[in-house]
């Protein structure tokens, strides 16, 4: 059954939308349809966080719990509000009383021009909903997607770090049970759709519904977090005719572990699998914390990062190095391939018409194996990599028994360096073998110059990272600590 509407809570009011172009972003909807101008447009591309709003959702495991997530309203399509509670900066005050997330910014003189402020308020609000005593690192992680051009951030950090332990009586706490009840009611609604301006949005609820729809409408555009797709609409003024949202498909939104693998549904957002990956591969967890920012990781998915086949996506090189596989689904038929084999050429993949990514399988680590990841960008946070290097090395003593050196930003697709790998495989990991691998890398790649880096820098840094990896492994062997990363400094 299909309903021609979407339904959500706008703060405490149930809102039902029909006849709205599904290309409308939440930001446009708030400002132009609801006349709520507190949420600001800074960039309309998910880079500045001025439009940050919070979505409260039912926890996947526990329907008695709400999760509060900061998202960028400028790159979230309005259909994705279905079944959730949308909270904006105007909703935080309780009568005349400012919310803790607001009052602390006032008290710390954390506003100047004030244009970024609503976004910071909302990110801080979301943080404190789950963590009333955040430490500095947690504050920085939560606010890294909010740019401020005036304050230099110190006052905002001091504000966000202020404990909210004794102020947990906001209007959301007061309405918690009502909100839960309403969102649970929403789960019983039929499959939501939205039509407007001749464009459609459909959110199938299970894999069969999705597979059938893609066979029926092969030209549909799959939508998960939309953190990349929305840019085509807001920046390139494209119109997406048929949006199919996969975030409600049960089979695509699960995170499971087997004895040997971590299985991540293609529509699981980063924020939900980061802890699992961090547990098994600390470097990978650390790297994911630098992908986009909190708002992007709350909606962006692994399926999206792999699926759009960008040469500068950060996950594909990591997955290739790990020997990860992916399961593709076409009208009831599934196949599993290496992530490495998915990419054919610039933005070209082996995905067939009507086929979609169901899940990605990451092998669990085995003794003797190491994964080293290096994300090189102009800015440490929320920046696209100039080079992403992912090195998987298995050693028997000093001897290298398996090696996969994968790179992003070095070619039209994420790919391995076969010559450099050959220089290491079967050899002891030594200064000499590393020097040979570095030299061989020059035959593996001819990187390009663009706005992020020159070809020469890309090659030099990629070679140097092999050396860094060697030094880190050596230091692990000799237990002699060499500091090698400013990122964590």
């Amino acid at each position: 059954m299909v309903a021609n509407t979407i339904k959500f809570l706008l703060n405490n009011d149930v809102v039902e939308i029909e006849n709205l172009d599904p290309n409308t972003t939440v930001l446009q909807y708030l400002r132009e349809q609801q006349f709520k101008s507190g949420t600001k447009e800074g960039c309309a591309s998910g880079d500045c966080g001025a439009c940050t709003v919070v979505l409260a959702e039912l926890d996947a495991e526990n329907s008695k719990q709400l999760n509060y997530k900061a998202v960028n309203a400028c790159i979230t399509f309005v259909g994705n509000l279905h079944g959730k509670q949308l909270i904006t900066v105007e909703d935080l005050k309780d009568g005349a009383k400012l919310h803790h997330a607001q009052q602390t910014i006032v008290d710390n003189h954390g506003t100047q021009c004030g244009f970024c402020t609503p976004g910071f308020v909302m990110s801080s609000f979301a943080l404190h909903k789950h963590n009333q005593n955040p430490n500095r690192d947690e504050v920085l992680e939560a606010l890294a997607g909010n740019l401020c051009r005036c304050t230099g951030y110190r006052s905002i950090i001091d504000a966000a770090i202020t404990s909210s332990e004794n102020t947990d009586d906001d209007s959301f706490a007061k309405h918690y049970q009502d909100t839960l009840a309403t969102l649970n009611e929403f789960t019983k609604l039929p499959t939501p759709t939205l039509n407007g301006n001749g464009n459609t949005y459909l959110a199938p609820q299970n894999i069969d519904e999705l597979a059938t729809e893609l066979v029926r409408e092969p030209k549909s555009t799959l939508l998960a977090g939309g953190t990349d797709l929305a840019l085509s609409v807001t920046q390139n003024l494209a119109v997406v005719k048929k949006l199919v949202y996969i975030g409600n498909v049960a089979e695509l939104t699960t995170l499971e572990e087997t004895d040997t693998e971590i299985v991540i549904g293609s529509a699981v957002p980063y924020s939900e699998f980061i802890d699992t990956l961090h547990h098994y591969y600390p470097d990978l967890g650390d790297m994911i914390e630098r992908i986009g920012a909190k708002q992007v990781r709350n909606t962006g998915t692994l399926g999206g990062n792999v699926g759009n086949a960008s040469p500068i996506g950060d996950m594909p090189p990591a997955l290739i190095a790990l020997g990860a596989t992916m399961t593709l689904h076409l009208n009831g038929v599934e196949r599993t391939i290496l992530v490495e084999d998915y990419f054919v050429d610039y933005k070209k993949t082996v995905l067939q018409t009507s086929e979609f990514i169901k899940s990605i399988q990451i092998p669990k680590p085995v003794a003797g194996q190491t994964l080293k990841l290096y994300k090189i960008s102009k800015r440490l946070d929320d920046d696209i990599s100039a080079v992403l290097a992912a090195f998987f090395i298995e050693q028997d003593g000093q001897k290298i028994t398996k090696v996969r050196l994968a790179f992003g930003g070095m070619a039209a697709i994420p790919k391995r360096g076969p010559a450099a790998e050959a220089a290491l495989l079967g050899k002891d990991l030594t200064k000499e073998s590393v020097a040979l691998a570095k030299a061989a890398l020059a035959t593996d790649f001819q990187p390009m110059t663009d706005v992020r880096a020159s070809d020469k820098y890309r090659m030099t840094v990629a070679q140097n990272l092999i050396e860094k990896c060697y030094l880190e492994l050596q230091s692990a062997h000799t237990r002699e600590v060499i500091e090698t990363r400013v990122v964590n400094y």
Partner: protein
């Protein structure tokens, strides 16, 4: 004998300076008005609640249309033809105009001509507006402009400073400042060095993009709501393009979502185009630039390419110097003459140059016209002399701090600038000595040297750099301001002044000044939007002058009303003026005490005027540009910064780990706001020199045209250990408003310490024997290549 400032007595960013409780230098602020207190920003409660209204937040006006412009795709070309038929036929389009449809002036250059409102027969940069559209929605207007068919005849484009210099392609004539015979002094000195540096530009990246709404009035005029630092100029230019008198144009500017210089001249074109379309359609028109369009179509901080030759003695003291600063001005003059002048004035930064020749070229390139940006050329000028300090130090094997100290302006000698202004009240040597001590510079320098000897991959660096920044518009007539104060019969006060609020807390400070005068709570003073019908002929809010000028003007207006109240009290109650006191929200007349509200009502009933204008002009300043001599600056603002960094010699990545700042803001009117300005300016200055990279391709197209490719500092880039202190007990010896000092721009240049510290870390790779060449922005790429170059030079040295 070193004289130290007692930094322990300073107001710092470590103490919670909450609202009313701040005690300055052991004293509670003077009275209720709160001058000297950390009053919160007047809009803070609204800003955090999403209730502060910016131009784009104003409710739509009936029939409101949205504007967009078609943009040039060529850097330099004649326009052969423009086929706009598809644009006109596009969905939602109501009106399309070209320059032919402009009734008045077609050139909107702010100082000199050169900026056509819409292209006239040719284009001079990629992104130049060609024609304008009014449509029923923002998106439909943006879609429509893409449908134009433009035929060009390509002309040769000048896209590098080098090329512009070779062709003598200038937007304004070159200019020099000269003292003595620098060539001979350099030749006679014991040591000579020469070198060059490329200093990158900077995108303002105000979070609120450019936006204006034009609303036609009943008498053929126009009301403009704009995000502009210069409402009076918007008024003048709108009147000129429409060919109507100034009194028919009203400009209203409540607040900007950031300006930084980027809305001084760059706000006007969009207001003019909105007004032209509104005039044609007789409907309100809003023109909001999408972020990408804003980044492509509006000017930025000037990139500079500077070079020098310096002669110095064995101690490292400069005996003579030649500096050439070459500003990349883009295609038109805009404000570039004054910006390159300021780069020339500040080529000394804090140092006595002795015999000096400073030459400034204003290079014309086929890019967007570069414009004002916090520091206004000063930062780019300072970079050369700070480079020279580091170069001399490495050459002589000394700590750069020692070289900086030995070259500082003296107090009684060596105290005249190369443009003949005496540096008075110079406290930089105390500031530097105090900061050196409070930041533990020497011990940390030693610890860093040890760390670097034992760390093969990561290296640390540290640097202390000073700033001396001249306060006043160098264009003399701009150093004036007006204000308007009303006292109502309930004792509340309305304040208007010519300055514009862009987040810097100007309205808060000026309200504090007015409240102080009447000794009433600051909350009783409401500061309205800057409006050209309330305070006319205002100067831009720029050059750090906002509080200095408008604060004095508002004080004058308040004093006039206060004097009237005193005169009235004397007459009515038969007392002497000395028996009339304003205290604690009351007016005390002899034995009687009235509340301020009561007394306002009594004065009104007795027909006392409770409204007044105020005016101020900066004293003492004069400058003869032809001679290059005078006193362009009323005073200098000073400060210093120590920054410590760590770099990765394999990747060029880095982090700023600690920053200590000591800044002289005079007697602060609002310490919390001043500290906020210092912290924000430092981080912005650091961003300019590190991650913020503007990249144009070989066709003159800007590639770093959105925040995904242009990276301003994010929250993790702010130093984890960030200590800011205000010099205590330091009233400005000049008679500025409450003896405060300007704070908007000066601390921006404290970011230079980060660049110098990066070079210090890189130099450690070759045991500090080689001075790394590090153009800016010092991206990880430039840092890595600087490391490799230093390594290579020592290897080459050994081979010899």
């Amino acid at each position: 004998m070193r004289s130290l400032i007692d930094v322990k007595k300073a107001v710092t960013n470590k103490v919670q300076t909450n609202t009313d409780k701040t005690v300055i230098n052991g004293q509670v602020g003077i009275g209720l008005g709160g001058v000297g207190r950390s009053k919160k920003h007047e809009s803070a409660d609204k800003q955090v609640a999403g209730a502060a209204i910016y131009v784009d937040d104003r409710p739509s006006l009936r029939g409101e249309l949205h504007a967009a412009v078609g943009q040039s795709t060529m850097a330099h070309a004649n326009i052969i033809s423009m086929d706009l038929s598809a644009v006109k036929a596009a969905e939602g389009v109501v009106k399309v105009i070209t320059v032919e449809d402009v009734p008045g002036h077609t050139d909107i250059g702010p100082v000199f001509p050169g900026d056509p409102v819409l292209a006239i027969g040719k284009v001079e940069f990629v992104g130049q507006p060609l024609f304008a559209v009014a449509a029923t929605s923002f998106d439909l207007a943006r879609k429509a402009v893409k449908l134009a068919k433009i035929e060009y005849e390509e002309l040769e484009a000048v896209l590098t400073v080098k090329d512009a210099l070779a062709k003598k392609n200038f937007v304004r004539p070159p200019h020099s400042l000269k003292r003595g015979d620098s060539d001979s002094a350099i030749a006679a000195a014991e040591h000579q060095l020469s070198g060059e540096i490329k200093v990158g530009g900077q995108e303002h990246m105000y979070l609120e993009g450019q936006v204006s709404t034009a609303e036609p009035t009943e008498d053929g005029g126009m009301n403009i709501y704009t995000s502009s630092q210069h409402p009076s100029e918007v008024q003048k230019l709108v009147a000129e393009v429409l060919d109507i008198p100034l009194n028919k144009v009203l400009v209203d500017m409540r607040r900007m979502g950031g300006g930084f210089g980027g809305k001084e001249t760059q706000a006007a074109p969009w207001a003019c185009i909105a007004a032209l379309l509104a005039n044609e359609t007789k409907r309100p028109v809003k023109f909001k630039l999408a972020r990408l369009d804003d980044m492509v179509m509006t000017g930025k901080r000037h990139p500079f390419e500077n070079n020098y030759t310096v002669g110095f003695d064995e101690k490292g003291q400069i005996k003579g110097v030649n500096i050439e600063v070459n500003g990349n001005c883009g295609y038109s003059p805009d404000l570039s003459d004054a910006i390159v002048d300021r780069a020339m004035f500040h080529s000394d930064n804090a140092y006595y140059l002795d015999q000096a020749t400073i030459t400034g070229n204003r290079c014309k390139l086929n890019t967007v016209s570069h414009t004002a940006y916090r520091g206004f050329g000063g930062p780019q000028g300072m970079m050369t002399i700070e480079l020279i300090m580091d170069e001399i130090a490495r050459h002589l094997g000394k700590d750069p701090l020692e070289i900086r100290k030995i070259n500082l302006y003296g107090k009684d000698e060596r105290n005249v600038t190369h443009y003949d202004q005496t540096v008075e009240h110079n406290n930089l040597s105390e500031i530097i000595d105090s900061l050196e001590e409070s930041s533990d510079y020497q011990a940390r320098r030693q610890a860093i040297t040890e760390y670097n000897a034992n760390s093969s991959i990561l290296k640390k660096g540290i640097a202390l750099t000073p700033v001396k920044f001249g306060i006043s518009f160098t264009v003399q007539h701009l150093n004036q301001a007006g204000a308007l104060v009303h006292v109502y019969t309930d004792g509340t006060i309305h304040l208007s002044h010519g300055g514009s609020e862009m987040g810097q807390g100007l309205n808060t400070k000026v309200a504090q000044i007015v409240a102080e005068e009447f000794q009433v709570d600051v909350d009783t003073v409401a500061c309205s939007a800057a409006r050209t019908d309330k305070v006319p002929n205002s100067s831009p809010t720029a050059a750090s002058s906002g509080t200095d000028l408008n604060g004095k003007a508002a004080e004058a207006a308040a004093k006039t009303i206060k004097q009237r109240l005193i005169d009235f009290a004397c007459e009515k109650y038969d007392v002497e003026a000395g028996q009339v006191q304003f205290e604690n929200n009351n007016v005390i007349v002899g034995e009687q005490t009235f509340s301020f509200a009561e007394f306002s009502q009594i004065a009104y009933m007795n027909r006392v005027s409770l409204s007044s204008t105020g005016f101020y002009k900066t004293p003492k300043i004069h400058y003869d540009r032809a001679a290059g001599k005078g006193r362009p600056f009323y005073y200098f603002a000073t400060g210093a910064c120590v920054s410590e960094v760590i770099i990765d010699t394999l990747t060029g990545e880095y982090k700023v780990t600690r920053t200590d700042i000591l800044q002289d803001v005079g007697a602060s009117i609002n310490p919390a706001i001043d500290i906020g300005q210092i912290e924000g300016a430092f981080v912005q200055g650091m961003g300019w020199l590190t991650t913020e990279e503007l990249v144009w391709n070989e066709q003159g197209r800007l590639l770093s045209n959105n925040p995904a490719t242009y990276k301003i500092p994010a929250i993790n880039d702010a130093p984890e250990d960030f200590r800011v202190a205000l010099v205590p007990n330091a009233p400005n010896p000049e008679r500025t408003i409450y003896n405060s000092k300007a704070v908007g721009e000066p601390p921006f240049m404290l970011g230079i310490a980060v660049w110098s510290a990066l070079k210090d870390a890189i130099a450690s790779v070759a045991d500090y024997k080689v001075s790394p060449k590090l153009d800016t922005p010092a991206t990880p790429e430039r840092v890595l290549f600087a490391v490799e170059a230093v390594k290579a030079s020592t290897t080459a040295g050994t081979a010899k």
